[in-house]
């Protein structure tokens, strides 16, 4: 042992730490305070749903959801949310992969643009869609071209619902897919490439199978976002009964004509759908529940 070290150690032996009184302490206050605060939030959510349920009698609920308008809205909601989510996955998977794997000039710009729908006020997004489809540039107007030449009117028709939902859902799906690919070791794809894969083969055979749980999560998140979409749909698709009405707009329409019972009934249907989506996520074990 070098002499300096020996001296230090003997010094250490000489110095005495102050004697602390012996006592037993408790972690109970920590759990009381933290669980108390947590319980407040959980209670709020439970009470919200409970209030809805208590507000409406089973008979009123049955009557409200038996209305043909509500049935049509339910059907359109299911279809449009599913279509928007499928589109989102198709876009988010390659985009998330590119953002996760490659450093390229202007990457941060793409990153920021992709996030815009997440931070943009929903009404503004709807208004922007409306303006995009109806602004004439050199005599060309997107909506007119789609209606007259393609025979596929968008604004105030069902495709507008899907497009409005997709614009927001996709941004969330891209986030999810990017995190998914960030968590997958890129070296496995490198090894696959040495074994004879092109980049697309390595993506399809090695990266994609590992990303399936993430894709399920992205699909579910996109679906849930699409379900809650309201502002852009109202502005861009309108809320024509039996035509472009989805459940979120139903709640608004029923409220606006004073049909509080119907509004609450539809809300409960949406609560049930949202809970079903959450449960599906857990059952499929996508890691979001840990």
């Amino acid at each position: 042992m070098p002499p300096e070290v020996a001296r230090l150690m003997s010094d250490r032996r000489g110095s005495e730490l102050p004697k602390h009184p012996r006592r037993r302490r408790s972690d109970v206050p920590f759990f009381l305070v933290s669980s108390g605060i947590s319980a407040l939030f959980v209670l709020l959510i439970v009470l919200l749903v409970a209030a809805d349920v208590a507000f409406i009698s089973p008979a009123e609920f049955a009557a409200a959801i038996a209305k043909p308008e509500i049935k049509a809205a339910f059907r359109l909601t299911l279809l449009s949310c599913t279509a928007a989510s499928i589109l989102s996955i198709w876009v988010a998977t390659p985009l998330g992969y590119l953002m996760s794997r490659f450093r390229f000039p202007g990457r941060w710009i793409i990153d920021t643009i992709v996030d815009i729908p997440i931070v943009l006020p929903p009404l503004v997004l709807g208004l922007s869609l409306l303006i995009l489809f109806h602004t004439s540039v050199g005599g060309f107007q997107l909506e007119r071209w789609l209606t007259d030449s393609v025979g596929f009117p968008v604004t105030f028709h069902w495709p507008a619902v899907i497009l409005a939902q997709f614009s927001v859902s996709c941004a969330f799906a891209v986030r999810t897919m990017r995190v998914t690919f960030d968590q997958i070791d890129p070296r496995a794809e490198d090894v696959a490439r040495t074994l004879g894969c092109t980049r697309s083969q390595a993506f399809a055979t090695v990266a994609l199978p590992q990303a399936i749980p993430g894709m399920v999560a992205a699909f579910t998140i996109a679906w849930a976002r699409a379900l809650g979409e309201f502002g852009p749909i109202l502005v861009f698709a309108g809320s024509t009964r039996m035509k472009t009405e989805v459940l979120s707009t139903s709640v608004f329409l029923e409220l606006s004509i004073g049909e509080l019972d119907a509004a609450v009934a539809v809300s409960l249907v949406m609560v049930a759908m949202a809970v079903a989506v959450l449960l599906a996520l857990r059952v499929m074990g996508t890691g979001l529940n840990s």
Binding site: R187, D190, R193, T194, L195, G196, V206
Partner: protein, 212 residues
């Protein structure tokens, strides 16, 4: 044959300048050098996973410098195996063969032969998630060898293993060398491995490759 001519690589702050060496057909060369001197970088350059500033890589007298990794016919075994988590052991052995459009029968024959050589027949239907370190390395070796590559590149294949498994794997590598005669470049910092396996020992120091 592997020929590396005037290789210069820039990887962040790390750089290799003008590295040249060759490994003759059928030779088992061990490239030694301390950690962080660029041994892995050289292997990645031969695979095509890393861009070069200058220089060229020739495999069996064909200049593959501009080729995609998948076209070079190299068998690459990375340091920590890097298996594909969604595939079982058999799928690993057949991976390179299926990419080369080998028929089902050929795939079965070759993967069975490879499994026998590596002593992993009992693992064929197993997921790779639960394999031990030695088993993983065997699978990684089989995955790289099954499609009969022109050259085999091993990146510290034994460094993560315990002493006993390491000796076993050394024996296995010697057996592969005898049975397949594949041209091999084995990177390590372990002198024992070099002594046990090498036909030739190359040393990488300060960016220069010298021969023992």
């Amino acid at each position: 044959m592997i020929e590396v001519q005037g290789l210069s690589i820039q990887a962040g702050e790390f750089a290799l300048q003008d590295v040249s060496f060759q490994v003759a057909t059928g030779q088992y060369a061990v490239l030694m050098g301390r950690t962080g001197r660029g041994k892995t970088t050289i292997l990645e350059a031969i695979c095509g996973l890393r861009g070069l500033v200058s220089g060229s890589v020739l495999i069996d007298e064909v200049n593959v410098t501009e080729w995609l990794p998948g076209d070079r016919q190299v068998g690459y075994v990375p340091q920590d195996a890097v298996l594909f988590p969604t595939m079982n052991v058999r799928q690993h052995l057949e991976f390179g063969l299926q990419l080369r459009k080998a028929g089902r029968k050929v795939c079965q024959q070759k993967s069975a032969a490879m499994a026998a050589l590596l002593g992993i027949e009992h693992l064929l239907e197993r997921s790779v998630r639960a394999l031990s370190g030695g088993e993983s390395q065997r699978v990684a070796l089989g995955r790289a060898l099954a499609f009969e590559p022109r050259v085999l590149l091993l990146d510290e294949p034994l460094s993560a293993l315990d002493q006993e498994t390491r000796l076993e794997m050394q024996g296995l590598l010697r057996q592969i060398k005898e049975q397949t005669g594949v041209t091999t470049l084995h990177v390590t910092h372990n002198q024992d491995e070099a002594d046990a396996l090498a036909d030739r020992v190359l040393r990488l120091d300060d960016g220069v490759v010298t021969e023992d």
